[in-house]
């Protein structure tokens, strides 16, 4: 397992295997009758739903009751309210994906100060420290994901072209790492390519920003969108252009899988493993509730997904086969 990035404080990654629970750990956890709350930035993405599945399943195996799963819809106010409300419920642990690095800091810090174990997913508000303000951060290797996306797009960029990046307009560890890594890979490996960046603040604004970016820079020959939900909006916005630009993104969501399998415009995906990440988050939570030390940062490597391996990657990530209609559409199954 190669992890390319460093953690939010420059930490080296620890592998998720370090949190593997033994049968006696599960027995000990069940005896504690634990209560855990989950606060997500959104539940609208395929990635988020699969991550929650991984967490809830593993917590269930350890006898931990999930008392709430909150969808903050990317709103810091909603997240602060949820953290305040759940703090008063005094669960043993809260698992949270902070929606940004600034406005939700104090609400998260109050969780640890109340003696509730806090495990973070994908993002750490600036100034919060592991072991003091939170237990661990569990994320994908987001720097590695940006690198994969750049490499996949590079194959579709002619000499001297420009690449457009649709970046997230919030200070968010995971999205920042992907964008920085994409730029870095191009700088080192494709110095002939110039990178033009636009930012979006809402998912349904990404398409408009992409169209504007391409209008402003006609030399753009390909796009990278920092995750799959805004990517779908970008695909809709640019699909009537001639030529349609190739696009790479992060996360093999259902719609992106379909677009990639059918031949574009999505030409490659840096895949995360949300189910396994959810399991790692839950295992970390149980480990700390058993009063054992946890690493500051656990990271899962990215998967390289192109059209040639999209079906088996889908199975790896989603833990289920693609639909029958889908296989027929790809001539992998004969229609009756």
């Amino acid at each position: 397992m190669t992890i390319f990035g460093l953690g939010p404080h420059g930490e080296s990654a620890s592998p998720p295997e370090r949190m593997t629970l033994l049968p006696q750990d599960i027995t000990a956890a069940r005896a504690k009758k634990l209560r855990v709350a989950i606060i997500m930035h959104t539940l609208e993405s395929d990635w988020a739903r699969l991550l929650v599945q991984g967490m809830v399943g593993t917590l269930g195996e350890c006898g931990a009751i999930v008392i709430d799963v909150v969808d903050c819809n990317f709103s810091s106010t909603a997240q602060i309210n949820a953290l305040d409300r759940l703090r008063r419920e005094s669960p043993d642990a809260i698992i949270s994906l902070p929606v940004n690095n600034t406005t939700v800091t104090e609400a998260h810090r109050a969780i640890s100060e109340a003696g509730i174990k806090l495990v973070l997913i994908d993002n750490v508000p600036t100034g919060m420290l592991p072991g003091k303000d939170y237990i661990s951060l569990v994320s994908a290797d987001n720097f590695g994901l940006g690198k994969i996306a750049a490499e996949l797009l590079s194959a579709h960029l002619p000499q001297g072209a420009a690449a457009g990046v649709l970046a997230y307009d919030a200070d968010f560890f995971a999205a920042n790492e992907r964008e920085i890594a994409f730029n870095r890979w191009m700088e080192v490996n494709r110095p002939d390519v110039t990178v033009k960046t636009a930012t979006f603040s809402t998912i349904d604004g990404a398409g408009h920003e992409a169209a504007q970016l391409m209008d402003d820079h006609s030399e753009i020959a390909g796009l990278f969108v920092v995750w799959d939900s805004p990517c779908i909006d970008v695909v809709r916005a640019v699909s009537k252009r001639n030529p349609i630009p190739p696009i790479t993104t992060v996360d093999l969501g259902q719609e992106v899988t379909e677009i990639l399998a059918k031949g574009g415009p999505v030409v490659g995906v840096a895949g995360q493993s949300p189910f396994q990440q959810g399991e790692a988050v839950a295992q970390t939570t149980i480990t700390t509730l058993l009063d054992r030390p946890c690493p500051d940062w656990l990271a899962l490597p990215g998967l390289i997904v192109s059209r040639s391996n999209v079906i088996d990657s889908y199975q790896t990530i989603w833990r289920k086969p693609v639909s029958r209609e889908f296989l027929i559409g790809l001539d992998l199954l004969q229609s009756k």
Partner: protein, 449 residues
């Protein structure tokens, strides 16, 4: 070219009495009262500064116009209208902070109170100086463009993996110090000054991390702290009476040079207990098959670093555990000597080797508690830093802030509204430009030839 949006274009209010030398001194005093204290009222300022109402009103008017203070907040009413609170405008400008390590770069932005706002760390190889300088430039640029409005940049504070010897009383650098062999030829400081039109400061990683730990980590409110960073090199930082101690020439804490003995071998602490030793012994254990765990990593990854050995130790590999524990015992022996001499309240162990496992910390504790006088260890705490490389960034920000607002330096720029307009800095920048111009022009033919 960086231009400061709020800085006036000329020295303000020429001929007006409040711009006199005396006015500058009181401006500096009032600003530092506001900056270092809690939000306060005009009445409180009059009391603590011992200036009259008219002077306070005048100085606050100037500082408000310069964007350095604001009175947007209100305090608690005590019978009448709620008083307005005078506050330092932390967001007036930004400081770029950088930490360079043998294998990583960290870059962040801080406000002018020294609070870290955002940071990014990535793996890097310092061997290529030009690429390192370009990368720092690119990352600072990226961070600045991601701010909602491109802010004014008032300085760049860098921490580096080596002692930095600078001239006494120099408010900022004009050339790159030789913190590692040949880095004085890298042009790092010169390039950043030119590209961002901002003063540059540089300190050793250990000094910056000690400062960061003191202000944002386990060292908060500590009067006597010993900070030990364990990486390829091993260095120490000291806090005495709540203040960092740097020594006569800024080289305090180079404990990696001390000789230690293990078995029949004697060498420096760096060589006997640092990351290079851990890596070498880990590779040997993998290649010989003594550690099946490391041997498997070697087969899969083809490279073993000290981090892999430390993680293997944490996972329970006995060979790796002994390698890391041996390093901890040697470091602990040296730290015990320092502890007996200095009697710290707190010892913080930091750096990549300490961060990835608990074995090193346990071995250091065992050695220090075993070799120290009971009076020294009675209230002593030995902890692992929780800050990682953020300590270096936070410390670099703190160093920049204390230099910018040092009364001697502040006097030189306060009426100009920005340290980037300080006459000494402008002169330095001009000198740098003329040197660059001369080297760009190359040798010129003598007149009349």
């Amino acid at each position: 070219m960086h231009t400061d949006k709020l800085a006036p274009n000329h020295q303000r209010g020429k001929g007006r009495p409040r711009n006199s030398e005396a006015a500058t001194a009181s401006l500096v005093a009032v600003l530092n009262h506001v900056r270092l204290g809690q939000p306060t009222t005009r009445q409180d300022l009059e009391r603590v500064s011992e200036y009259g109402r008219a002077i306070i009103a005048d100085r606050l008017a100037i500082l408000t116009e310069l964007g350095l203070v604001n009175e947007s907040g209100t305090g608690v009413a005590t019978g009448g209208r709620a008083p307005r609170l005078v506050q330092f405008t932390n967001d007036r400008a930004r400081l770029a902070v950088v930490t360079l390590d043998q294998s990583a770069i960290g870059v962040g932005l801080a406000d002018i109170s020294g609070k870290l706002l955002t940071e990014h760390h990535e793996a890097a190889n310092m061997i290529d100086q030009t690429k390192t300088v370009d990368r720092i430039h690119a990352l600072i640029n990226w961070l600045m463009t991601r701010q909602s409005e491109t802010p004014d940049l008032w300085g760049i504070s860098i921490s580096v993996p080596g002692a930095v010897l600078t001239k006494h009383n120099a408010a900022f650098l004009l050339e790159t110090p030789n913190f590692l062999p040949n880095w004085n030829k890298s042009g790092l400081v010169e390039a950043l000054m030119r590209r961002f039109d901002a003063p540059v400061w540089m300190n050793s990683n250990v000094q910056a991390m000690t400062m960061g730990e003191l202000h944002g980590g386990a060292g908060i409110d500590q009067q006597a702290m010993l900070f030990v960073k364990v990486g390829q090199r091993i260095g120490a930082g000291l806090v005495s009476n709540g203040q960092p101690y740097h020594g006569a020439s800024g080289a305090a804490g180079l404990i990696g040079q001390l000789p230690v003995t293990s078995g029949d071998t004697t060498g420096s602490l760096d060589a006997m207990a640092g990351a290079n030793m851990i890596k070498a012994r880990g590779v040997e254990a993998a290649q010989s098959g003594k550690s099946a765990y490391l041997a498997e990593i070697l087969v899969r990854k083809a490279e073993i670093t000290a981090i892999e050995v430390c993680q293997a130790a944490q996972m329970g590999d006995p060979v790796s555990t002994e390698i890391v524990a041996q390093s901890g015992r040697l470091i602990g022996g040296v730290v015990a000597t320092l502890a007996n001499m200095l009697n710290p309240q707190l010892i913080v162990i930091a750096g990549s080797i300490a961060q990835t496992n608990d074995i090193l910390l346990a071995s250091v504790r065992e050695a220090v508690y075993g070799a120290s006088h009971p009076l020294v260890t009675r209230d002593l705490r030995i902890l692992r830093s929780q800050m990682g490389n953020s300590a270096a960034l936070l410390g670099a920000a703190g160093i920049a802030v204390s230099t910018l607002f040092d009364p001697m330096f502040l006097k030189g720029w306060i009426l100009l509204g920005s340290p980037t307009r300080h006459p000494d800095f402008l002169y330095g920048l001009q000198t740098l430009s003329s040197i660059t111009q001369q080297s760009d022009d190359g040798p010129q033919a003598p007149p009349g030839s």
